[in-house]
Symmetry: C3
């Protein structure tokens, strides 16, 4: 054996090998692919609950994560072509919603209050420079957030693919879970 | 030293060792045990919100994941022996729920509307060939989805173990979190 | 070369190196830092939904996890100085809430029912020895649970930093997601 062949292995004791392994493992965990993906399930169909998945998905994508949103159940409203009409907010459903003046439940249940609350919510967000749902959907698509509509609930609610905005893909819960199990960040919203 | 003993190590330079480590780490991340488990927390007690944890858990289990559901707060309803009576859906609580005809809140708050909405929801799901809650619970147990009822909230609501369907285990939040911190897929529903 | 230098490498065949790597990787996955952190997003502002993030965060911290809660949207109520007044529970919004006597929606929508339901919820929890929200917040701070209020939604709702209880930090969604992508346990509540 030539000395040049022997020299490198001569130092590779088990301790040294374990040291190298530690270095490589530390490096591997730092770039764990599960840290680079996020999977959100958007299940609610009111105006207020349309913001969190879109804000979190665009914030995540802006920070370099590969984000996807699976729209299911009432969440289908968010990517429905008529989302502007479909996304409403009902004060009666949510005593946690800050109202300019506290109102008893019976008043918030009066006809027209949902329209009032929806307008107020839109006003609060736009006054503060937060993007509208439409703008957030545009940003999401620009940042290549995967938007997936749940086929099973589309069937249940009687929607078909042409009811949805451009850029939406269609898939089942199994595909969504398969994304989710590869990501640390998995949120049901 | 015999040549057969020396030959393998002769090639094990540090570079080669690092290469082997990369292969093994890549393989290890592919079979990361955190990818093979899913932990759902079912916290809601209405008919519509009983579907997502059961559908996701059975879809996950069918795809080979070890799934568990921790039923807590209102979610205890889902595995209560009287779940058929307990799981209702209120249109007043959810302006995101698609209704055949849009109704103002005051109408949806009339007595009887919860019964109507519950019937409509059951009809929509059954017409589309989606399993009933009862069937989904059966499938979950067949696929060995772990069903755990939260002891603390059972105490708060005054339930005892005999109130729950067969196959349910009982445990605390600490045990649920201990499952959750070993899984990528963790959803609070 | 002295025999002592050669001896260790003599046994380091590729098979043995792969064996060592397996041991180290198994050990590394057991102490995967992602298992030691939990990130909760508290988004709801009613009394009943204030319990889950605080109970899960304190249970997790007690079990040795580094927990943080990101309070956003209606969840800001939970750490608002006036949380006792702000956290209410509306029976009309939640047909899943166990009531001593079943009531039709129109009755639960009458003025005063939110107060009644809030009192009932507080009573149920305190009778069973569950800590109050105030106590849970104290425990969370003692266990060094990071409490972060979402700056964007603070702006939307017109809150400023002095509106929040002591110990609360302030941050954006990007920081919250950066915590979340390092944790297995990520829940949107």
């Amino acid at each position: 054996m030539a000395e040049t062949d022997v020299a490198p292995t001569a130092n590779l004791t088990e301790d040294r090998v374990r040291e190298i392994i530690q270095e490589e493992i530390t490096r591997a965990f730092k770039k764990d692919p599960a840290k680079k993906q996020g999977m959100l399930i958007a299940s609610k169909g009111t105006l207020d609950w349309a913001y969190p998945p879109l804000i979190l998905a665009t914030a995540g994508a802006a920070a370099g994560l590969d984000m996807s949103i699976f729209f299911t159940f009432y969440g289908l409203n968010i990517v429905h072509k008529d989302f502007k009409k479909k996304l409403k907010v009902s004060p009666v459903a949510n005593p946690g919603m800050p109202m300019p003046v506290p109102m008893p439940d019976i008043v918030t249940a009066l006809p027209g209050m949902t329209g009032f609350a929806t307008g107020m919510m839109k006003g609060m967000f736009s006054k503060k420079g937060v993007a509208t749902i439409e703008e957030l959907l545009d940003v999401a698509r620009e940042l290549e957030v995967k938007l997936i509509a749940c086929q099973m609930t589309m069937d249940v609610f009687g929607y078909d693919q042409s009811d949805f905005i451009e850029g939406v893909e269609f898939g089942g819960a199994a595909a969504a879970l398969s994304d989710a199990r590869r990501s640390h960040l998995t949120l049901f919203i």
